[in-house]
Symmetry: C2
Subunit: 436 residues, 2 copies
Amino acid sequence: MKDLESLTASQAANALAKREIKATDLLLACLDRIGQRESTVKAWVSLGKENALARARELDKGAIKGLLHGLPIGVKDLFDTFDLPTSYGSPIYNNHYPATDAVSVALMRQAGGIILGKTVTTEFATFKVPVTTNPHDPKYTPGGSSSGSAAAVADFMVPLATGSQTAGSIIRPASFCGVIGYKPSYGKISTGGVKSLSPIQDTLGCFGRSVGDVALGVAAMSGDHSLANITDLHNKPRIAICKTPDWGLTQKETRAALAIARYAAEVIAKGAVGDLKLPTLFDDFSQTQARIMGAELSRTLTFERMRFPKKLSPQITKQLNEGAAISYEQYTKDLLLNQEAHAAIELIFSKDVDLIIAPSAAGEALIAKEGTGNPIFCRIWTLLGLPCINLNITSGPTGLPVGVQLIAGPGKDHFLLSAARAFARSLSDPVMRDQA
Amino acid sequence: MKDLESLTASQAANALAKREIKATDLLLACLDRIGQRESTVKAWVSLGKENALARARELDKGAIKGLLHGLPIGVKDLFDTFDLPTSYGSPIYNNHYPATDAVSVALMRQAGGIILGKTVTTEFATFKVPVTTNPHDPKYTPGGSSSGSAAAVADFMVPLATGSQTAGSIIRPASFCGVIGYKPSYGKISTGGVKSLSPIQDTLGCFGRSVGDVALGVAAMSGDHSLANITDLHNKPRIAICKTPDWGLTQKETRAALAIARYAAEVIAKGAVGDLKLPTLFDDFSQTQARIMGAELSRTLTFERMRFPKKLSPQITKQLNEGAAISYEQYTKDLLLNQEAHAAIELIFSKDVDLIIAPSAAGEALIAKEGTGNPIFCRIWTLLGLPCINLNITSGPTGLPVGVQLIAGPGKDHFLLSAARAFARSLSDPVMRDQA
């Protein structure tokens, strides 16, 4: 078998479970690919090659461990790992070896996953430009903050990698790199052992190259193994396009992606697809999200602010100072608005719609030095805690990928995966794409 | 000034802010007390005497840092501290030095608090019998899992100590030791850097010897400094006694404590105090809580279960195995019931009542070897995320303290503190106590 590194996580997991391929061979193929491409892509902070190989050999000999048996996995360097240094993207934590794995990492190992290495995160998962490049063109950003994970999966270095999202850190890099990114419902995966930013909305998830891949990843990370069995859509879902209050910031490729997604949605909905206008309460909700995040971030990084102010970049220092300047009174007001918004979106999902389609990002990836891109199109969905999946839809003027996100109601992860798979199938139909 | 160790945290903070006493003297008084009593009480896992003294001297010289300026604080050994070993009550983490402080610890230091040492927690904050004894009589348990913190505060070793509660780990030891224990609303204090048990309900809080003390502690730990200013009650609150579905388990001293609390409540409510019967949905809700906790605990301790099974006690191994045996389907059902329960309690608080009074524990402290006591009277309030405060009310047949808990509606921490202070004032009126 050739090109093992190009198998999706689901394909590989399937072949591994049937002993059609060996974990060792898959791992070596991934390591080969990394060897060829890493000097350009720079997705990795560290690789645990020897440990990974030992683990692969062990798995090839022993019983099938679980959903991720033998899959090489990249772990965002915001997640603690007991056997690989964990720096959270900050020089403060150079050569820091946590005593334990993050809960989600331990669950992936328990399911037979092989933790191959740590992928680049921006500084404490915020906005400092990372070293990682976009695998499609190194002049461009892969997005952030889960930069290395999105790039590694897009570049066939690993079939699966973990991410975290507090504003737009899974969906945006997935869109920029042209992979599937899945941020499940808030709380679905324990954040234990992952550096906290804004506890009210920190959410873990993963990247893959098919909907089945990310289902597998989140199934293992959460312990809800039933997520790995994506069922077919039974009823005609009510689907709506939501341009969000920030539609004015979209570039034409994102508008095109939404138009293509509308066609696919009509096939799946077996009929018309509506347009969802959010209540006025949401007009400034992305600013509300940013304020809550800023206020919480300034508190969660108190230790670093007090003890290592000089090891914080100017970017994050500015962000932390702005966050610290937000009064607790303002923060409390924002939390109340957030409660209202939760009630409002719940009502929308119970009355009007099952699935929302919205932009993943303003457009294709930016030039790397201009930053990791604006998370604005993800902010409201993250604070609302809704499950979101980025699907790769089209490409922009530079030829870089452009996605859209599908968003389901609170806790509707199973449905979201079913809908995303139906979407992906429609989109890979060439007739469908020609119609777009 | 003599007996500095007997000052409450509020009294000491006040005197320190006015430079009437020195942080160094207060610290030395606490260290003296610890020197006299620690061999009996065994509240501490480690003391950072030299660091604490250095910090006290620095604080005595410099500007007033914040709410906790110069206060010696005990930190439950479930919270990470960069300068003191943190073992989570488990031999797996012997001599583990975290790279960072828990968010709440960093915020306390920022507010001028002096972290004096780490207090005993049970094994991963579960049920294994700890070494700590009840300061009122060493034959008895101080309760758990925040055993050392409750005992240290009760024994005048420190004026303030942190705790965490996933079932009843703040309120129960507070009741057994006769101190004020405050578990604020779920989410009020970031759990970043505290060993996770059941993320959906892990809640941090603290112990003090007055309502003002715990207000001060949670104000600093959360960053909501307004909590330190307890306002007087303006309106007549609607107060109800809730015997909870587990009333059959109460001992007579707990029933007496509730009767006394009813008198105090009538003074505060300026009239009748009702009885709240929870809807039938709550009949088995303490089991629901236990199942959710068990299922989540088995996942959050996956790393320890996989790598160090022999270093886990038989008690926790049993608990983890039982948790792992709970199907995800059952867990999902329980989460849905929890959502319904949240909606039901919100309705009760909006329609019927402002403050609930309920047992803190079945009765006074048990003989130490019999365990840390049953958390059953706390389980439902913890899962509901409601703010709770234990007040010391009476004593049991053995002369050990017995408290009740006051419980306010979701997010009503300010009101709860106001009500608790009004209560404490009524209770310290000897006429009031004679009436009981």
